[in-house]
Symmetry: C2
Subunit: 513 residues, 2 copies
């Protein structure tokens, strides 16, 4: 399908090659920093530097393919215990070494790119060794080390009968610390909550002392400093561990797919469910282009596929929108929620596609990034961006962003598909997640994408959407930050930054424009 | 009952008298401030000053009774529109006038006491004229002016078919701006959410610019500045309006009472309901002393009362704990929730008392403060304090605070009752609300309470509880703030304060110790 549309341009696949990567010469790590970290925890090998040189946005992945890593760190430091962090930050502050906190390296907004700022050198501070877990079964909370990746955290909790329920697409690589630093949201956010809503308390080790919030379900003692540490994207300090709310492992799960008349009809169904507190664990609606791509990928070819298409045509749902629902809990909860939700979907004109299609989505829920690598290897440009807004502006936000992306692609001679789904629904609104799959255009994707993305950001801000519902700010959204939080907001962040990090070593070039 | 226990000490009632109040001489409002506010919006009459001189804690109310108002404001300014606020703050900054934002005056932690700080004079900035309302029916949100009191907001929303569902005991006086500035929590918080969770966006007018957050269900763009403005208790600036999440007016309501074996048994029932997402709109459990006082107040005397007591005795629930549940929604929601909850309460050993007792609680839900005035008039000391903690520390927190209060009362020769209820339950914990009803002791309540309260604060902090779940910090909790947020936390607040309010005019002496 992509070849037919002229989007796949390479014949053979061209994957990144470690040997072909050119790294900038590493500057030496100052003695003071080596001492604070322990020499055995400092890594300067090529592969270590390459693996910490970038996140996972389109330009990051293309730079790896081009073998040009302008921003590799001079060294990677892996603290053995959280107690070392304060000393490392102090030594780095004193020696002019920039510090980039690093978890899974899955930022898609340039959040972990090792920029030096005004400093002599830059290190990537990898949390990989901080993998503590301590469960409070009575309170349903757990202290989790920042370096725990999604699957390891789930395994350790699962052994005790619990789950965090946090499954973003980056789940397999991303870490607890990264989830907190970026306000991550998982695919099951309607059931389990966004990561920030799961945080009951947090520690933030800054170059000027440690901020530690009280572990409590709630407090009214002044501004919520927890919410200053959560989402701080590494610019104030390092998050060594997080106390989170957990749940019993669900004993029953059910995933289903439906086809609704249109994206708008699907959005209305989700809004009605959200506003009557009837959201299932997972709910997402694809627009027509995303539905077409999904069905093309998942439909069996031949007879079965034809029968399916005929089925949809008969019910006038050809060209409709795919709606995925997921239910997790004990069997009576799943049954009850499913019956509430199915009634509402049918009332909204939905046609049931069955559990097989739902399980298909569930099985492939973390595959997107891998598929993307394969497409990138074949010369396709694949990138995503997302936003959120209240229901009253939901449709106009969707139309504006889609038009802006399509317009920018056309302007730059790129043939592409702009597709979108609604996910992360709330009583007052929802997020919209856009995926662009396109040819690179005459000037190449690396030259073109930086012309396309701003068009989307501007459309989002004009339509009143947020720059990001769950990808965070990083380097990529920083230029637009003022348009969302205003100059007083930026000054507030800058003031805190100067207080926590007077030497300006923490993650330079991120968040604050 | 109170007389029997030697707690009521005055024969006749002695209510506060406006004529007997001695006010400090008012300092003149600088010309610049008069111009910025408009002379017609500046009030300097005695009654205006008296009505803005204090909040509603025990010492505030006793000062009024003694006729000694050391801290009355020099003037009360009532801005006509939010557009005036920036100019007023600028003029006050330039003229050395402290500013105390004022809503309903219902702070119980000294949050609106007009302290001058280092300034020449102090004004109370009353939001009474900011009463805008604008409803977005599709998104279920509303913009509400800071000066709207609880009942007015509910009436205006109710006319359009909606409710905010925020009913703290201060509801009849407190305002939207005050709810936001103090992170208020209402009696129906399990069903409708705490006020801070209802805020979708907020404006904060500081002496150095306006902070305004995007109206969106959620954003991952950096630290949540909304959570810096919410809970800011007037020390950074003034909140002129708040965008909040609203709900359709419930068509069905049901309130019930139960008796459970003990406070511990009741707490366990609530924990099980919370951790299985089955909390009703309202749930609260009284300990044995509070149950006794409540039943004494509400039971009919004579035969009916005797029958009731026999009923409890028969079921071995004498000396048990009162549990109140409330259900609001449409009739099927109420029915479903009630059947879930009743099953769990019965399983936990609860005995049903019926709807009349539940309605009795509902009818009197805002009466506490009025009853307290009547008791104060009769020489009784009545004061409340509250905290919250995770379930695993819930019982030890309860025991510690109760023991600390009882010990401090005894030490100061006061005869009293310490009673407590659980309210505001979460998956990970709940809040505990203590009420002290006692004689004033030989030195008098005004001398004694400042010796009792610290014992409770210290017990709370030793047991790992928060200084306040929903009363905020104000002047009263400020000395303990460092014990909760640490010196780095205090420095973070101080840094923001210096940025937003370099002249230090905003609500001096509050929040930051």
């Amino acid at each position: 399908m992509l070849a037919e549309r002229g989007i796949v341009t390479l014949e053979g696949a061209r994957a990144p090659q470690m040997d072909a990567v050119r790294l900038p010469k590493a500057r030496e790590v100052p003695e003071k920093v080596l001492q604070a970290a322990g020499r055995e925890n400092v890594y300067t090998g090529d592969e270590d530097r390459v693996r910490h040189a970038n996140g996972q946005n389109y330009l990051d992945l293309m730079a790896l393919r081009a073998g040009e890593l302008d921003h590799a760190p001079d060294a990677v430091i892996v603290p053995e215990a959280s107690g070392q962090i304060a000393g490392i930050l102090e030594a780095c502050s004193a020696s002019g070494v920039a510090v980039v906190p690093f978890g899974g390296g899955s930022s898609v907004v340039g959040g972990v790119t090792p920029l030096r700022g005004e400093h002599e050198s830059v290190i990537s501070l990898d949390m990989a060794s901080l993998r503590e877990i301590k469960v409070d079964e009575k309170s349903l909370t757990a202290k989790l080390g920042a370096g725990l990746r999604g699957p390891e955290a789930e395994t350790l909790l699962g052994e005790r009968g619990f789950t965090l329920g946090h499954f973003p697409q980056s789940f397999e690589y991303a870490t607890i610390g990264g989830f907190a630093a970026t306000r991550s949201a998982g695919q099951s956010s309607s059931g389990y909550g966004r990561f920030d809503s799961l945080v009951s308390s947090i520690r933030l080790v800054t170059p000027q002392g440690e901020l530690s919030t009280l572990e409590t379900p709630h407090t009214s003692i002044g501004p919520a400093l927890r919410e200053v540490a959560v989402g701080s994207e590494g610019i104030f300090g390092v998050i060594p561990d997080v106390d989170v709310r957990i749940r019993p492992l669900p004993s029953a799960r059910r995933y289903e797919a439906w086809i609704v008349e249109s994206f708008e009809a699907g959005n209305e169904i989700v809004r009605r469910l959200a506003q009557s507190d009837r959201l299932p664990t997972i709910i997402r609606v694809s627009d027509a282009p995303e539905t077409e791509v999904n069905l093309t990928m998942s439909l069996p070819s031949g007879a079965a596929g034809k029968i399916f298409k005929r089925y949809l045509k008969l019910r006038s749902r050809e060209g409709g929108s795919l709606l995925i629902t997921g239910y997790e809990g004990n069997s009576s909860e799943v049954h009850r929620s499913r019956s509430d939700v199915a009634r509402e979907i049918r009332r909204g004109g939905g046609v049931y596609l069955g559990q097989a299609a739902g399980r298909g989505w569930e099985k492939g829920r973390f595959h997107g990034p891998y598929l993307r690598e394969a497409l990138l290897d074949r010369g396709v440009l694949v990138e995503t961006l997302e936003t959120a807004q209240q229901w009253s502006k939901h449709e106009s936000l969707y139309e504006s962003v889609r038009a802006a992306l399509e317009g920018a692609l056309a302007e730059n001679g790129m043939d592409g598909i702009v597709m979108c789904h609604l996910s992360h629904a709330y009583r007052d609104g929802a997020s919209l997640y856009f995926t662009v799959i396109s040819s690179q255009g005459p000037d190449g994707g690396v030259a073109n994408w930086p012309k396309v993305k701003p068009a989307a950001c501007e459309a989002i801000q004009s339509a009143g959407g947020t720059l990001s519902h769950h990808h965070a700010t990083g380097r990529d959204h920083a230029p637009w930050l003022g348009g969302e939080i205003g100059s007083t907001g930026i000054e507030a962040l800058r003031t805190l930054k100067e207080r926590f990090d007077p030497a300006g070593i923490m993650n330079p070039g991120k968040l604050i424009p």
